[in-house]
């Protein structure tokens, strides 16, 4: 019987999306079960809080500065070494189903291989692509050059228009509202649940796994596009989480004065975005003004996201059941995580952007080692990063971790984390926007301390920053950056951050699309 690695990712999912992390809304028994049998990480951070840089980190095990994908729209160089390539070269069968996003999605002239594969239906690029011998893509709906879009067009053409169009007719992120509250990017989607992309991703993976020999070693990246906006799960599933029954999230200050005071305690671009006077990036609808967000809209978006979370859990359960049924489950490591988080109402916002708070940085991460290895279940609270995933896959496969990877294998226990000297995890953001905004953030998270410094840009002069003590202030309302009693702590953290970050590349990679 071969060994298997099932790498499961979602897109834009919060830490508290899962029951095992304290989430009380979505029912996620499959992932909770993996956590109970494996290792659950309480402080896992991405190295960037948008898709392309974060996914490039997962694939390469590198800091953003080393793989070079500094912003959405920058393609990972074709020649970049990847963990999938290492595994493929070592004889493992390799595949990816769902959202890749190593190359820009907005590509009307099909400049990128992934998008060309999505249009032609090819499952490789004439050779393994980035180390994957088989790829089938899905994104956030029926649009775009994906295998899922082609499949839907051939099999359910009436539902091509059922999804919320993520982009508007001007190709900006769609600011329109929907649902019952008018929340942005919400729609009641008439598509049948069995043809929604979450189940399609699982179906395609099951099909590929079924074609392998039981003795094959394999690595399968199961990459669900949800719960990233648009929030348009099948309408048949809305009964799961009635939005009117939801409490507001703990991170949403209900009183306007309280909400705005907390925003004003942060760096200047928070308030500018809240008021609708600044667009820094392509990740949120430019014409949507966060200050207009209503409590009903917060509730409805949360309900939609949690419905999407439940569907993911059930789809993953179907894949695991197939592996258990044919005996491969016992030799399969499962790693579950996401690329970055989502505000989902926290601080008065939706979506994501240059905001290094737990809503976007604290990620679900669960590793269920193969049951045959009889690893003791554990909970690790030391900081780890997505750059540790690729080295972990190397370790599982019995391959040496190459020097070009910046991470190291995930600790399997607190003692293991201590032995590794786990102290910090780093996250950075660089963006330029055609509208003129330029923002640069770097953050160090050291246990309960989160410290962000802002480099000079169009919104910041380089003196601003944020310092949060999560033990005292888990909702990140009191910024300690300018607190004189914390000055030495701040200096220590900033010094540690500067020392630990790699150098920026001399020539940044080119930006070739907004997303």
């Amino acid at each position: 019987m071969g060994r298997g690695i099932l790498f499961v990712t979602t897109d834009q999912q919060r830490y508290d999306a899962l029951g095992c992390n304290g989430g009380a809304i979505a029912r996620t028994p499959v992932i909770d079960g993996l956590a109970a049998a494996g290792i659950r990480y309480e402080r896992a951070h991405p190295q960037n809080v948008v898709c392309m840089p974060s996914r490039a980190t997962m694939l390469t095990g590198q800091h953003v500065r080393n793989h070079g994908v500094w912003m959405n729209g920058v393609p990972l160089p074709a020649e970049s070494a990847t963990v999938a390539g290492l595994l493929h070269d070592a004889g493992w069968r390799t595949s990816l189903f769902g959202k890749a996003h190593f190359e820009p999605l907005l590509d009307p002239f099909l400049r990128f291989p992934e998008n060309r594969m999505g249009v032609t239906g090819d499952t490789d690029d004439g050779k393994p692509h980035r180390g994957f011998e088989h790829m089938e893509f899905a994104a956030h709906g029926s649009g775009g050059p994906t295998h899922y879009g082609g499949w839907l067009r051939r099999n359910q053409p009436d539902h091509m228009g059922s999804f919320f169009p993520a982009l508007g007719i001007d190709l900006e992120v769609n600011s329109e509202g929907g649902g019952e509250s008018g929340a942005p990017q919400v729609r009641h989607n008439p598509v049948p649940r069995e043809v929604y992309h979450t189940d399609w991703v699982a179906d395609r993976a099951i099909s590929w796994l079924g074609g392998l020999d039981l003795d094959d070693d394999w690595f399968c990246w199961l990459s669900f596009p949800d719960p990233h906006h648009p929030w348009d799960p099948p309408a048949s599933e809305l009964h799961r989480v009635p939005w009117r029954d939801l409490d507001l999230p703990e991170g949403y200050p209900v009183l306007q004065a309280e909400r705005e005071a907390a925003i004003d305690a942060k760096a200047a671009h928070w308030r500018h975005w809240y008021d609708g006077t600044l667009v820094t990036n392509f990740e949120a609808p430019p014409r949507w003004v966060p200050a207009t967000l209503t409590t009903d809209q917060v509730r409805e978006v949360n309900a939609m996201a949690h419905i999407q979370n439940e569907l993911i859990d059930e789809a993953l359960g179907r894949v695991l059941a197939v592996l258990d049924a044919d005996g491969r489950g016992n030799g399969t490591d499962v790693v579950f995580t996401t690329d970055h988080g989502e505000f989902q109402g926290d601080h008065g916002f939706l979506f994501k952007g240059p905001f290094h708070v737990d809503s976007l940085m604290r990620l679900p991460l669960v590793w269920r080692p193969a049951p045959s290895r009889a690893v003791q279940p554990s909970v690790v609270s030391e900081p780890v990063g997505l750059l540790d995933l690729a080295p972990t896959f190397c370790r599982i496969a019995g391959l040496p971790v190459p020097e070009w990877m910046d991470g190291e294998p995930l600790p399997m226990s607190p003692a293991d984390a201590g032995a590794q000297g786990r102290q910090r995890v780093l996250t950075e953001w660089d963006s330029v926007h055609p509208g003129g905004a330029e923002v640069h953030l770097q953050t160090i998270t050291r246990h309960a301390l989160v410290c962000t410094r802002y480099e000079p840009g169009t919104c910041h002069d380089g003196t601003e920053g944020e310092l949060w003590d999560l033990d005292e202030d888990p909702l990140q309302l009191v910024n300690l950056w300018d607190d004189p009693t914390r000055r030495s702590l701040r200096d220590d953290l900033v010094g540690d951050l500067v020392d630990a970050l790699p150098e920026r590349p001399r020539t940044p990679l080119g930006l070739e699309a907004p997303v």
């Binding site: 400049r111 051939r154 508007g168 001007d170 190709l171 900006e172 392509f282 907004p514």
Partner: protein, 155 residues
């Protein structure tokens, strides 16, 4: 004439006679032969319809073909909504042959980076077509066209 600041500008020098390069550029119906990602480009009464390899299309109005200045101007009219667009391709004399300058201005600017990279590819494609007779990867001759993009092998 372009009306605002240029958002996107690329140029290439092609080792060929200016008139030879201009002849290709001036024929709006031939753009798909050298612009990667275009399946076809058809001109009817000053309106150019471009079918893209991704399965969509672009409608463009040809504003001016100035043979004296060797300048081709157009604007995208749909189906995407742009508040403003102008495109201009100019073929100039150069000591090494012909210098082709491709400029665009647009609003909103979501497509700035997409168009910048695409017209860079397009100028390479123009050079390949003029010098080597190589047509772009996506172009499909009229006799070979079907109703849409290829869909082989999909599950």
């Amino acid at each position: 004439m372009l009306e605002r600041a240029v958002d996107v500008r690329r140029e290439v020098v092609i080792g060929a006679a200016v008139d030879e390069v201009w002849k290709v550029v001036a024929d709006g119906a031939r753009q798909a032969e050298w612009f990667p990602g275009m399946v076809s480009s058809q001109v009817d009464d000053g309106i150019r319809t471009i079918v893209t390899a991704v399965g969509g299309f672009l409608m463009e109005e040809i504003l001016e073909v100035d043979h004296e200045a060797r300048c081709f101007e157009y604007r995208i009219t749909g189906p995407m909504h742009l508040d403003h667009h102008r495109g201009r391709i100019t073929v100039l004399e150069d000591q090494d042959g012909a210098r082709v300058v491709y400029e665009q201005e647009l609003e909103p600017k979501a497509l700035v980076y997409v168009l910048d990279a695409a017209i860079g590819d397009a100028l390479d494609g123009l050079r390949d077509l003029v010098l080597d007779g190589r047509i772009s990867r996506s172009f499909v001759a009229v006799d070979d066209r079907s109703d849409g993009p290829a869909t082989k092998g999909a599950a």
